[in-house]
């Protein structure tokens, strides 16, 4: 073994420049330059994100306040975003209610039961196909099916179903990953002790996969919360009226708890304001609403990471 090689092993960046006989000074210079450029990309991305966050924080400084969040929209004064924020949260909850069970069940199938056959490939192909369909096309599909064909008009339910269609592949894939991450020993140990396959899944695998599953739910939720193109054509684009939260009649379109009513969400509201908004406060309201959206995204993302780490630590150190 030459001196160069023995010095190379154990040095992640290669042998010291003075020992490099194969490298000329030019290639060392190229290496330095390339490293600088690559660092530059990292710095650029951080700066870009940082400046976007700072821009919205500044723009929304005088705008976002508890009264902004909790009051109704208005043209004449700095109106608030309560109904549309409520609709965003409502739509998220309704979508997750439908998408999470189906997604987790689908993930269980793909992780535990699926064989290596044509059917499984078909499912994977379907997963990838739905994920690459443009969101506007999904929205149009919802328009034909729920709004026109079923004669529902614009409804929160239609929007939630369209969003479910759109995000089901993501939820399924993340669930599958979370379940696959559970070590194989768990399965074999459980089966060795005499439990059936379903008992194993239900009582052992799924509980152990919960941190990953929760992370999957939160990441999917983050994606659902900001969606606009799908909802533009399925749940409507208008200024919601004042919501009477004490009206608990789910079949009454006047109740904010009912899924059978048009439900303009925060993202769609921003689009509506920039396209037709009136009033001197229009730009400020948009900035404020956008700031709220970005904060929610931040909360979802960082929350998912944090929660995932905490849960994993707690549940696996049992």
């Amino acid at each position: 073994m030459t001196a160069t090689a023995s010095q190379a092993i154990g040095r992640p960046n290669g042998p010291k420049p003075s020992l490099r006989r194969g490298s000329s000074r030019g290639s060392i210079l190229a290496d330095r330059a390339a490293t600088a450029v690559l660092w530059g990309t990292g710095v650029f991305v951080l700066l870009l994100l940082g400046s976007i966050i700072v821009h919205f924080a500044l723009a929304a400084w005088g705008v976002v306040s508890p009264s902004f969040v909790l009051s109704d929209p208005s043209d004449s004064v700095l109106g608030g975003v309560l109904p549309v924020l409520w609709n965003s949260i409502y739509m998220l909850a309704l979508t997750m209610l439908i998408a999470v069970p189906i997604g987790i069940l689908g993930g269980i199938y793909m992780a535990e039961y699926a064989g290596d056959n044509a059917l499984t490939s078909a499912i994977r192909f379907a997963e990838e196909a739905i994920s690459s369909v443009p969101s506007i096309v999904v929205g149009l599909f919802g328009l034909i099916l729920f709004v026109d064909e079923f004669h529902w008009g614009f409804t929160a339910l239609g929007g939630a179903l369209a969003l479910t269609l759109f995000n089901l592949p993501l939820m399924t894939r993340l669930s599958e990953q979370a379940l696959r991450a559970v070590p194989q020993e768990e399965r074999t140990a459980s089966l060795a002790l005499g439990a059936t396959k379903w008992q194993t899944i239900r009582h052992i695998i799924v509980p152990l996969a919960i941190p990953g599953l929760i992370t999957g739910v939160i990441l999917t939720a983050g994606r659902v919360f900001g969606e606009a193109a799908v909802l533009l054509f399925t749940s409507g684009i208008g200024t919601p009226p004042h919501y009477d939260f004490s009206n608990l009649d789910l079949t009454n379109p006047a109740s904010p708890w009912s899924p059978f009513r048009p439900a303009t969400t925060l993202s769609v509201y921003i689009y509506k304001l920039q396209s037709e908004g009136l009033g001197i406060y229009r730009n400020q309201i948009i900035d404020g609403a956008a700031a709220i959206l970005i904060s929610m995204v931040l909360i979802f993302n960082l929350g998912a990471r944090f929660l995932g780490r905490v849960l994993t630590r707690r549940l696996t150190a049992a």
Binding site: V147, D148, G153, G238, P241, N252, S275, G277, L278, I280
Partner: protein
């Protein structure tokens, strides 16, 4: 049997209450003739939306138990949805002829609730141009005149900002002012989807010209930044629109599928009531259809 004095007394009290109610002007609208409970949805034209929105808000404030949801989506959406039965009222800037199939179009009942006007506006930097004749408009919008200096303005290229070709605003402008001439396309033209987007685009683009609704022009946020033009020497005002001297105006339609009943009928009646026609409509820069 009331004796004369007591009758007079109660009349006097009624008169005083009536006078008191009338003198508290502007506090709250007098309750519409009939309040019906229920829930309806109106959808469609974004040009009419500010009016229908405001009227709906007023109506439900006095008629608690009624819910009127107003959506946008465009005139086409309004027509499709009311014909398909998904909404009760379809707001539209255009008639369904040529858009909906004949049997569907024949089902719809038209209720004209207001007249809406549009004004040609330019960016503030197009100084010296305060009026455009119909012929000048045709030359500009077909792309024949390319520079503002040819119509008395500064030496700047004309940038045309259109609404989408499918919109009622654009087809109205094309019919009433351009005489259906072919509009310009290409690098000097932009298309923005709605009044707000158009207004944003005009204020940010040097030499831009476009057509926006009165409500958007008169909005205190926009007016200082826009240069509103006369059409053939006529000022773009609600009065001129009402008296038909200003010609860039069209009816605002609210369509129902068959004759309206229940809350739909009540709300439409409210749209034609003095509260809306006399007070609300002029305040939003539309012209009433009921004097």
């Amino acid at each position: 049997m009331l004796n004369g004095t007591r009758r007079l007394g109660s009349l006097a009290i009624a008169a005083m209450i009536f006078a008191a109610a009338c003198s508290s002007a502007g506090s709250s609208p007098t309750p519409p003739a009939n309040c019906v409970t229920g829930s309806i949805t109106a959808a469609g034209s974004t040009a009419l939306q500010p009016l229908v929105d405001a009227a709906a808000k007023q109506y439900v404030k006095v008629c608690t138990g009624a819910t009127v949801t107003v959506n946008g989506g465009g005139s086409g959406t309004g027509l499709s949805q009311v014909a398909g039965g998904s909404v009760q009222i379809g707001d539209s800037d255009v008639t369904p002829a040529g858009k909906l199939s004949t049997p569907d179009a024949n089902k719809l009942v038209d209720h004209i609730v207001a007249r809406q006007g549009w004004i040609v506006v330019t960016n503030k930097d197009v100084t010296g141009v305060t009026n455009l004749t119909t012929q000048q408009n045709i030359d500009i919008w077909t792309g024949k005149t390319k520079n503002w200096k040819d119509v008395g303005g500064p030496d700047k290229l004309i940038v045309l900002i259109f609404r989408p070709a499918s919109s009622g605003t654009r087809s109205t402008f094309k019919k009433l002012v351009l005489g259906n001439a072919t509009e310009a396309t290409g690098g000097q033209t932009l298309t923005e989807d709605s009044n707000g987007a158009v207004t944003t685009a005009i204020t940010k683009t040097s030499g831009a010209v476009s057509v926006i609704g009165f409500a958007y022009y008169n909005d205190p946020a926009n007016k200082p930044n826009l240069n509103g033009l006369q059409l053939d020497g006529v000022d773009a005002t609600v009065a001129n629109m009402a008296s038909a001297t200003y010609k860039l105006a069209a009816d605002g339609h609210m369509y129902t599928n068959g004759q309206p009943t229940g809350l739909t009928a009540a709300f439409l009646a409210y749209m034609m009531s003095p509260d809306v026609q006399g007070t609300l409509i002029p305040s939003l820069s539309y012209a009433p259809v009921v004097k």
